[in-house]
């Protein structure tokens, strides 16, 4: 299992005819294999930018990122990505979407077939393999996106607001699914969210990020993800510990938002 090491990563966007945007400033952290890290923070604090750098879609302007001692320079099958929506291939069936990664790496249909069946079962879509993407609801589509990512057996799964476009109820179910998958597969997961509750519930580690320049403001180690595997989510989210943490982080973010507003006006 591979550890993720981020060393003094900075990212500056050069915007023509305007000031440069410092999306990330000197971001450093280490993440042991098998952790579930959630990223939280006001809009524009560089969460997506950080994720894109980890995925290898963007090269940072300074600093390095290493996975298992190897520097990340481009996208690769060791890091899977789940997008908010619209990243599935509409011209392929559910089955074909899930088998896409292995197929690109030369696997035959007979090799992928049993694995796809198993993954469909894991994400709760058994029997939906023949369906077309546009026949599925948003929640089901995200399940397919998860399965497609898992099919490649990546070391790290990166998710940028994967549940952001779902309704509250579907969202809660999907949170349960992500926790379950995380436990069963033991993979490293990094998940960006705008929901404090979601970040607390899913994260066994949580960064609260701050904007201008984008940086990690707080680094929490949390117990809830471990507990969440055993306890009813509703119960956990109503527990005093949970509520206390939630209020703490909420007020932190509110402060940041107010600072931004003060800046802006």
């Amino acid at each position: 299992m591979k550890e993720l090491k981020v060393s003094s990563v900075g990212m500056v966007y050069n915007v023509p005819k305007s000031d440069d945007v410092i999306a990330l400033n000197d971001v450093s952290f280490e993440l042991e294999a098998g952790r579930l890290l959630t990223l939280l923070g006001p809009s524009g604090c560089g969460k997506t930018t950080l994720l894109n750098i980890l995925a290898g879609f963007l090269a940072p302007t300074s600093g390095t990122v290493e996975l298992g001692g190897q520097q990340i320079t481009k996208p690769g099958p060791d890091r899977g990505m789940v997008f908010q929506q619209g990243a599935l291939f509409e011209w392929l069936s559910v089955e074909q979407n899930i088998a896409f990664g292995p197929k690109m790496n030369g696997a035959s249909k007979s090799e992928t077939k049993p694995m796809v069946e198993e993954l469909l079962h894991t994400v709760g879509l058994a029997g939906f393999g023949d369906k077309q993407i546009y026949e599925l609801s948003g929640g089901m589509q995200q399940r397919v996106a998860l399965a497609r990512c898992l099919a490649n057996d990546p070391d790290v799964i990166l998710m940028d607001e994967p549940l952001g476009a779902l309704d509250a109820l579907t969202r809660e179910k999907m949170q349960g699914l992500i926790l379950k998958l995380w436990q069963e597969t033991g993979k490293t997961v990094i998940l960006v969210t705008h929901s404090v509750e979601e970040a607390l519930y899913l994260g066994d580690r949580l960064f609260v990020m701050a904007p201008r320049p984008g940086r990690i403001e707080r680094d929490y180690n949390l117990p809830f993800a471990e507990i969440g595997l055993k306890v009813e989510p509703r119960e956990l989210k109503a527990s005093p510990d949970f509520i206390e943490r939630r209020e703490e982080i909420l007020s932190l973010i509110w402060e940041m938002e107010e600072q931004i507003m003060g800046h802006g006006s």
């Binding site: 995925a55 990505m81 997008f83 619209g86 990243a87 990664g101 690109m104 993407i133 546009y134 990512c149």
Partner: protein, 322 residues
């Protein structure tokens, strides 16, 4: 018109209470399409009756025929008119009546003759096929050249720079504008007609392929690379299928343009084909043949569009459902 080919029935919008302004609730009702089709035929028929569209010329003709008691043909009439001092050019175009418009019945008879005996050395089917085959070849090469170039323009800055100038320069030229040049270079008939159709369709295909590449969502491309796809795999498995809807739109537009261009081109630059058939019929005052030609052109145009829609529904079922 194509509503005639669509399915009948209430549909999902049947229970909407507000439809005025709801574009999705407005569709073409087959019944009314049928009414307008019948209306067109009735107007056509009436136009060939003396009482349908009375005109000065018509009245002059009727008066002359009544006075002299003989049955002269339109051709004679026109010659006489041309010779008469008080007959000006506008009179040629002024009239519409049994002599200058074949009635539906005459047209039907003409159709039957054309089917069996033909006109200008070919039967109707041969003329139609000659035209259609030219379009098919023109479209084939237009797609063959246009799609790779358009996709290259969407994928590489260098190639976009390279092709931008010729595309911007040649695209606005109406194909018929360069037909005389093509006839000069390649001669009349197939050689110039097919090349003209390549010219008519290739720019459209380039533009639509370029647009198709442009519509691909960055997240799809990134997902593919993350899943371990190589550049050629991304091109073949993601960019190309993703561009299919745009390509199809391009093919439909190009097909329509090609068909219209070809028929016009055949009027002057061919010895066979529907356009040429109409042009020759005019020289012999065969109004029935002209009308059959016009109708066949229209019907083939509609059928091509219906066929493309059918293909589209089959090949791109995800279109518009993203």
């Amino acid at each position: 018109m194509t509503a005639l080919f669509s399915r009948f029935g209430g549909g999902p919008d049947a229970r909407k209470t507000v439809t005025f302004g709801d574009a999705a609730a407005v569709r073409s009702l087959p019944f009314w399409s049928l009414v307008s089709l019948i209306g067109i035929i009735v107007l056509w028929w009436a136009g060939t009756k003396p009482w349908g569209f009375p005109s000065d010329f018509q009245q002059a003709y009727e008066a002359k025929a009544a006075a002299e008691g003989d049955n002269i043909t339109t051709r004679q009439m026109l010659i006489e008119c041309g010779a008469a001092p008080d007959c000006d050019d506008s009179m040629y175009s002024q009239f519409l009546g049994p002599r200058t418009m074949a009635s539906p019945i005459d047209t039907w008879r003409g159709f039957n003759v054309l089917r069996t005996d033909g006109f200008a050395d070919h039967t109707l089917w041969e003329h139609s096929w000659i035209s259609l085959w030219r379009v098919i070849r023109g479209m084939f090469f237009g797609i063959l050249f246009g799609v790779p170039v358009g996709m290259a323009m969407g994928l590489s800055s260098r190639l976009r720079g390279l092709f931008d100038t010729p595309v911007e320069l040649f695209r606005p030229i109406p194909p018929l504008g360069i037909l005389p040049l093509f006839i000069l270079w390649f001669g009349i008939g197939d050689p110039s007609a097919v090349r003209l159709l390549i010219f008519a369709s290739v720019w459209i295909m380039i533009i639509s392929a370029r647009a198709g590449v442009g519509t691909v969502k960055l997240s799809k491309i990134r997902a593919a690379y993350s899943l371990g796809a190589s550049k050629p795999q991304v091109l073949r498995r993601v960019i190309l299928p993703n561009a299919l809807p745009e390509l199809f739109t391009g093919i439909r537009v190009a097909l329509g343009v090609s068909w219209g261009t070809l028929v016009a081109a055949e009027l002057v630059g061919a010895e066979a084909g529907l356009g040429s058939m109409i042009f020759r019929a005019r020289n012999f005052f065969r109004l029935d043949v002209m009308l059959v030609g016009i109708i066949v052109i229209a019907v083939i145009g509609v059928l091509m569009d219906v066929f493309m829609r059918f293909l589209e529904a089959r090949l791109i079922p995800w279109r518009g459902k993203g």
